[in-house]
Amino acid sequence: METVNIKINGRAYSVPKDSTVLEAARYAGVEIPTLCYLKDINEIGACRICLVEVVGARGLVTACVYPVNEGMEIYTNTPKVRESRRMNLELLLSAHNKQCLSCVRSTSCELQKLCHEYGVDETHFRGAMPESSVDESTAFLVRDNSKCILCRRCVAACRNLQEIGAIGTNDRGFDTHIAAAFEKNLADTSCVGCGQCIVACPTGALHEKDDTQRVLDALADPTKHVAICTAPSIRATIGECFDYAPGTDVEGKMVAALKRLGFNGVYDMNLTADLTIVEEATELLERFQNGGVLPMITSCSPGWIKFCEHYFPDMTENLSTCKSPQQMFGAMYKTYYAQKMGIDPKDIFFVSAIPCTAKKFEVTRPDQSAAGVPDVDVAITTRELGRLIKTAGIKFRELPDEKFDAPFDIGSSAGAIFGATGGVMEAALRMAAEVILGKKLEKLDFEDVRGIAGIKRATYKLGDKVVRVAVASGTSNAKKLLNAVRSGEEKVDFIEIMCCPGGCVNGGGQPTQPASVRNTINLREVRAAVLYNDDRNADLRRSHENPAVDIIYKEYLGKPGSHKAHEILHTSYVKRGL
């Protein structure tokens, strides 16, 4: 690696030649504050918080985009630098809604943290406030532009990371604001609800539509049977709401906390991830046999489903008709379990805890009401679940480890890896391979489909059958892959697509991490490691060997792909277009 010699705050360092000042400072153990910068997707030098002094440069320079060169002398903490940063923060505040006390991001707001550190005077500049509005049109997201600092991280997440571009920067000067084209409500755009804008936002301008009150109301209602199930990835991320390092598995404490919140049942969504695999692999094998539409594409990710409906409406027949694990859980609970326990499905309030904002939209979709009432009543994100636990006064870190409730407590580790990109594919392959080969696999690891690459491809020879698979995460990668499939350039039989880059572990409902963490730690990798670690150490690694799934089929559904299974566990799609 070529290096250059520079000085930072008077000390000499040798740093990679193509570094920016921001990156070089990190080598020197100096964190330069940023607001607009997000590595790879938003490198625009707009917020002017990362200003530093460079000897010989005209004025202060923006560290996030300024390249280092041989002999450069940089000062990151002079009075001039600090004064400029403070002034810029005060200017941002002059147009900011400063109702911080009740703001959803209070204490995790990147602007608030900097203002605190720099001792700003929030009343220094007084003047007109820009006109702003609140967009609450969708089921999943709230945009309050009075708290927007125009850093454009959300626009970059939507346009550059996901290549959707539902929002942009409209008008100019004092009127500049972030909104959809033609000032449409977000609900009337091709927004898929992935929530990547929310986890990119440094302030409280974007947050999920909070459904915690609905959960609290249900819990307080003695006539309701209130149950919750948690998605595979929550155990790997909810710890972050309680100051655990990213990548800490807190399954036992999470279950203990939910029991203390007063749920009548606390269940593991890994179970219905297994059920999904059994149904989906059966559907795939059926399509192979009967000449059905191929490639078949997975349907677990509701953001991806909406993306397909908008951008590839001609390919909705390729989507597996299986409901997502969340919806399958609610559907089974309100049919099979309700019948078994003698509870009226109308008296059940079913909550799912998910890493996803698009799931809030999914619960409102038609054809997701197996028992005549919505399969799932409320979907809450990891962040909302964290808030529920905190406000109940539950000391999460001091809790013992507890176990999920029977009979929905058994989930295979094939279900667990659903939370990472490639996980659904691997789980499905484990089953499909064993069915096609008619024998048990010695090695269950399909390593080609693992890892955080945007698109992964593999070909497996199963007996005399060749199965070509592809895995994409992030809608920009999905678009690339599907364009190639549509044009015939790429031939595949089975595709897994997850809406969020890296899969659910990096979902838009996961705990927010400041840019300083996002830019330096690969959250997708460390969070996914929890799930693959679970898988490595598990005894039950095959969805189709889950005894609970077996019982569900024996007692209720008949066999995989049966008429009854279709009625309860499958759904339909719409062609939305753009």
């Binding site: 006109e131 409209n170 959809a180 084209a181």
Partner: protein
């Protein structure tokens, strides 16, 4: 000034659309083509209708929000069609000190639209302009090619009634 959305229906013709498609096809692979394409589109249609912005975005493989962002950034782009009668109020220095701001307010009140907009029936559009070289008549306004000078707010309704 925030650009307002028009409710006037799009009345593009087949011939205009062909011109637009040609314009895009000719320019779309040139770096920085969006601006000249938007300018050309405005020449074809007289303004930038939603439908046209959408076509430009799809053909250029850009998001609609990105194209709209550019269209709403530059004051040279109109998002509403010009009215049958285009009213321009001079807000240049001489007119302004003679009270053309009040004349503008009166027009806005009388028509129920802001500067840069068009009445929903498509009859009147209102714009502010800089010096039109008739400072001796300040404050001045023009309706199509008719010039009205030495205006006081009370004149506005009378003038508009001639065109209604």
């Amino acid at each position: 000034m925030k650009k307002k959305q028009t409710t006037i229906p799009f009345k593009g013709t087949q011939a205009q659309e062909e011109k637009l498609e040609n314009l895009i096809a000719k320019n779309k692979d040139v770096p920085g083509a969006l601006l000249p394409i938007l300018q050309g589109a405005q020449e074809i249609y007289g303004y930038l209708p939603k439908e046209v912005i959408r076509i430009i975005a799809l053909r250029m493989d850009k998001s609609i929000s990105e194209v709209y962002g550019v269209a709403s950034f530059y004051s040279q782009f109109n998002l509403s069609p010009k009215g049958e009668y285009a009213i321009s109020i001079c807000l240049g220095t001489a007119c302004y000190v003679k009270g053309s701001g009040k004349i503008m307010e009166e027009f806005e009140k009388e028509l129920g639209i802001s500067s840069g907009e068009t009445t929903p029936d498509g009859k009147f559009s209102l714009n502010d302009t800089r010096c039109i070289g008739a400072c001796g008549l300040a404050p001045v306004c023009m309706i199509n090619s008719d010039v009205y000078g030495r205006l006081v707010p009370a004149d506005v309704k009378k003038i508009l009634d001639k065109y209604r």
